[in-house]
Every structure is written in C-alpha cells, then in structure tokens.
C-alpha cells in the first residue's frame, strides 16, 4: 500500500501542497478529485519523484516486506515500486507499441536496455490485460487517443509495480474510452491487488469506479472516504464554487452529481 504522510510541496516560494496525508490500500482504487489548480497533478508528480518534496514522507508498505521510504530511493529503485500512467499527449510517434511497452521494463533491465524472454512475456501479458496485443506492431503515432492511453497503461503494468499512479488519464478520451479505460483499471486493481491512485476530473466517472475518494482543494485534502461520503452537496459546492445536487444513481451503486442551474 501507498502511504503519504504530511506531504508539503512548494514551487519556489509558493506552497502548493499542504500537509497531505493519504493511504491507498492494495487492491483498491482511490480517486483524487478536485478543481483545476488544486494540485492533483502536482501530487502525482511529487509522489513519483519528479518534483522535490519540501517535507513529509512517502512510504510503500507491504505485508511481507519491510516498509520502504520512497523518498530515499534512486529513480531506478523507486520505479520498481511505483509506476505512472501520464496523459497520452505528444508521445514520440515513431516507436511501435511493442517497443513502448517494453520500455516499461527499464527498472528491471541493465542500462543497455537488454530484454530477456521473461521481460517479453511480461510485456505481452500487460498488452493482453489492456486488450491491445493486436496493436503491437503499429506505430504509436498512428493510434487513436484511447489506444494510446491503453498503451501507456500497458507500459506501466509492464513495470510490475505494486503501486500505480494515473494522472487524469481520461481527459482526452471520448465517452466510450473513458468508461472502458476505468473498467480496465478497476478490474486490474482488484484482481492483481494493486494500490491505484488516479487523479480524475470527472466526478461521476470517479464515483462509478473508485472504491474511495479524496477531495483536494487549494492544495489541501478536504475530505476522504467512500464516494457517498465525499460527494455531498456541501463539500462539492464549496470545492467547485458551483451549487450542485447529489442523487443516487438510477441503476449503479454510486452517487450522481448534478450541477444546479438557477
């Protein structure tokens, strides 16, 4: 599981994350929601080690292994515990899907990037899990947005990490791909016992597929809990500066957030 403890991050003199504490349990999907500029992407980047952390701790806890302080690890070591699925924007078009997914094996390879049969098997399995094995020989530049996003998920899965971070992966996807992508992520989290933290901007998508949620506003966690606990009219109206109503979803076991027009 992923444990974020009292994390604070600043961009120079400007504080952007205040004392963030979150736990993501293995086998669950935690959706990080909040308005633009709240700090969702910043949190993902800080946890993955791309931006420096001012104070606080990030740990990886597994039942059979001692607790690991992720902040003290080198990029290579951290990449064995944590994989990130970014938005599928401006990917290098000339690599094939197969080559791209194989690069996810980097933390387990030598610096020349030589792959073994085992690495290829893992890459193949990752592509199967996202249903993209038939795309293997295609160049990434020729794929649709949804296909590219699946390839990035496969690459992260090939990294074979217990923790998965996704940074607004559905932002550029159409309705079909949004739903199918989150279905895949949710199934993988439950089946493979991954700790999945996904930053999402679509509240109802998050409500359908998240086991728990955390509401981030202006760099602070305002609420954590089940979707029903976090998606209340009071909290959401306050966070998004917009009056909303929350009703039970007509046929799914989740709340449904509706903006209220005057």
């Amino acid at each position: 599981m992923l444990k974020i403890e009292g994390l604070s991050v600043s961009y120079g003199p400007r504080r952007v994350l205040y004392n963030i504490s979150l736990e993501v349990i293995s086998g669950e999907v935690l959706a990080l929601i909040g308005p633009n500029g709240a700090g969702k992407s910043t949190l993902v980047r800080a946890v993955s080690g791309v931006i420096p952390v001012e104070s606080g701790g990030i740990r990886s806890d597994d039942i059979n292994r001692p607790s690991v302080n992720l902040l003290s690890l080198s990029p290579m070591q951290r990449a064995r515990s944590l994989a990130v699925v970014p938005q599928a924007a401006s990917m290098p078009p000339a690599f094939t899907v197969w080559e791209t997914v194989l690069m996810g094996r980097t933390p387990h390879l030598n610096f020349l990037g030589q792959v073994s049969a085992k690495d290829e098997a893992i890459a193949r399995l990752a592509l199967q899990k996202v249903d993209a094995l038939d795309l293997s020989e295609r160049r990434v530049g020729e794929l649709s947005g949804g296909e590219q996003q699946r390839v990035l998920l496969a690459r992260a899965l090939a990294q074979s990490t217990p923790i998965l971070l996704l940074d607004e992966p559905t932002s550029n996807l159409d309705l079909h791909y949004q739903v199918s992508f989150m279905e895949t992520v949710s199934a993988l989290a439950h089946q493979d016992k991954l700790a999945v933290l996904v930053a999402l901007h679509d509240l109802n998508l998050a409500a359908r597929y998240a086991d728990r949620m955390a509401l981030l506003v202006d760099g602070e966690i305002k609420a954590t809990g089940t979707p029903r606990q976090v998606l209340t009219p009071e909290l959401i109206s306050m966070a998004y500066h917009l009056p909303v109503q929350v009703i039970p979803h007509p046929y799914a076991d989740a709340p449904l957030v509706l903006p209220v027009n005057n």
Binding site: S48, R78, A79, V84, P86, L112, R139
Partner: protein, 339 residues
C-alpha cells in the same frame, strides 16, 4: 526481404574506405591495394610500382582515411545523440556552441606566428579543441537553473554565445593580413595535416566520447518520452543527460579541432538512418556513426578530385551534395511518422 542495417551500412563504409585509399593524385588500383595488403600479411618486401604505392599508403592515404573516418564517425554519432537529447530534428553537433568556440580558438591561434615545430603545428588544433570545450562549459553553466539545465535554456545560451564568438572571429579575420584565406578554409572543413599525429591526438577523446554514446541508446529512447516519464521509468535524467551531452561535445570538439567545421554530416546522416532503419537509438547511434564515417569519406574523395590538384574544403561538398541528397531521401520516404 530482410533488412540488414548493419550489413548495408558497413558495406557502404567499406566502399568509401576503398575509394578513399585508391583515389588521389596517384591512383592506386584496387587490385594493387589487395596485393599490398596480402604482402603486408606475409611480411614481404615490395618492388616497384607496389613499393611506391605502399609508401603513399602508409604515409599519406591511410592516416588521412583514418582521420576522416574518425571525424565522420564523431559527427554522425554526436549528431544522433544531440537530436535525441534535445528531441529536435534540427539539432546538430554544433547546437550549443562547439563550432563557434572551435572557430574562435583556431582563428586566434592562426593570428600568432608559431614556429614550424611539433607544438607549432599542434597550436591550431589544440586552440580549437580548448575553445570548443570552454564554450560548451560556459553555455552549460549559463543555462543552469538551480539543479537542472532546461533544454530551452541550453539552446538559447548556445545560440547567444555562438553569435558572440562568431562576431569576434569575424572581426579577427577582417583584421588579419595574410591568414584570412587559411581561416576561411579551416572554417569550412579542411584537414591540412598529414601523418598519424592528428589521428593519435584525437583518438583518446573519441574513444571516450563515442564509447559513452554507444552505450546510451536505451537512455536516449527513454528520453524521447520527456524528462518526467523517463524519470518515472527509472532513469536518473539529469545525470544521464549531462553525461551524454559532455560525451557528444567531447567527440565533436576532437573531430573539429583537426578537420575544421564540417556541416550537414551531423544533421543529415542520423535522419537518413532514422528514415531507413527506425528510431530506436540503440541501433541509430552505431548506424549514424558508421554512416557518418562513410559519408564524410565519400565527400572527401569528391573534394579532392573535383578540382584536382586543388582541394575543396570538404564542408562545401557536404553542403552541396548533402542537402539535395537528403531532400531526395525525404521525398521518397513512405512513412510520415518517422520522427
């Protein structure tokens, strides 16, 4: 038909080497070349005309061929590395100031009348080498922001400093009384030094620089996804980028210090290799190295032969021949997404 990139490229290099050794003011027929080679292996002594040919070979042709081969390899390899590092198809080995720094050093050295001794002959190359490395160091330091060196800053600082160095160089050239012609020839790529000394002087720097580059293919692949994703996949981005940058600059500085500024090889050879054989840098780097060596050898043969007995600066040939050739390759490329 199975494409064999290494086979084709090595054959191309072999052809270029044979042409470079055979062609010159005295034409050595390939048949005689073979006979000399066999003779060397059997430690035989030669009679005329093989004896003269062998003398020309060891004293002039072979060292020159090896020098050009190494220079072309350095330019091709570092060109590929720069394009990968900066994720920019316009990048070439001179992007952050190696050319302008080397030019300034060389022209400064040319304005001093050195004695005709070993150190006197080494003065221009040494000054060029130091000028190139000093410029890269300055540009790198200027571009640094805290602990990172952003790509954009590097390019901007390189362009700014390059203009500055070129301005001083031009001023020195205008002020000179006799050295102007020599400076222009050097700045367009002219290797005027014969013998094995230049090769031996270049070799350690090239070995280190190109050696590091040849091992950097996988890292360059990862860097194509951007610094963030490369780091998230496990690459220590800042350290690796600095290492590759220094290795490429070292190789380029060593190459230009004896051969002058030869353009287009570092820019075009990697693109041609990418068009024909794909964007995987683990393959692209060695192929650009071999291809650069062959291309420069061919350009040098043309430069020596076209206006014989005069020698054109090889940089003019690479520009005149290289640009149209690349445009032709580009037009024939079937796949649009090659970059």
């Amino acid at each position: 038909m199975k494409i064999r990139p290494y086979l084709y490229t090595l054959l191309f290099l072999l052809l270029a080497v044979v042409l470079s050794i055979a062609i010159g003011s005295v034409f050595i027929p390939p048949g005689d070349l073979g006979r000399i080679l066999i003779g060397w292996l059997n430690q035989a002594t030669f009679s005329e005309p093989l004896k003269t040919f062998a003398f020309i070979l060891t004293g002039i042709r072979l060292p020159r061929t090896v020098l050009i081969l190494l220079t072309g390899a350095a330019l091709g390899g570092s060109g590929a590395a720069y394009q990968g590092l900066f994720r920019n198809p316009l990048a070439d080995p001179y992007l952050i100031g190696v050319a302008s720094g080397a030019g300034l050093g060389a022209v400064l050295a040319m304005s001093v009348k050195f004695s005709y001794s070993f150190w006197g002959l080494m003065a221009v190359p040494a000054a060029a080498f130091i000028g190139a490395l000093l410029t890269v160091f300055l540009v790198y330091t200027l571009a640094r922001v805290g602990k990172t060196v952003p790509t954009t800053n590097l390019i901007l600082a390189g362009v700014a400093f390059g203009s500055f160095a070129t301005a001083i160089t031009t001023y020195l050239m205008l002020r000179s009384t006799g050295e102007l012609h020599r400076a222009i020839a050097w700045l367009n790529g002219g290797s005027s030094q014969a013998g094995w000394e230049p090769v031996l002087a270049m070799l350690p720097f090239l070995a280190i620089g190109l050696g590091i580059l040849l091992l950097s293919g996988h890292a360059l692949n990862l860097l194509q996804f951007g610094d963030d994703q490369a780091q998230q996949m496990g690459l220590p981005v800042m350290r690796v980028r600095t290492l590759i940058l220094l290795a490429a600059s070292l190789a380029t500085a060593a190459a230009v210090s004896f051969s002058g500024i030869i353009g287009f090889i570092g820019l075009i050879v990697p693109h041609v290799m990418r068009l024909w054989f794909g964007a995987d840098y683990r393959r692209l780097l060695p192929l650009s190295l071999i291809g650069g060596a062959g291309a420069l050898l061919l350009a040098d043969v043309i430069a020596r032969s076209v206006m014989a007995p005069q020698e054109l600066p090889v940089g003019i040939v690479t520009a005149l021949v290289g640009a149209p050739f690349f445009l032709w390759v580009l037009r024939r490329a079937k796949n649009q997404g090659y970059w």
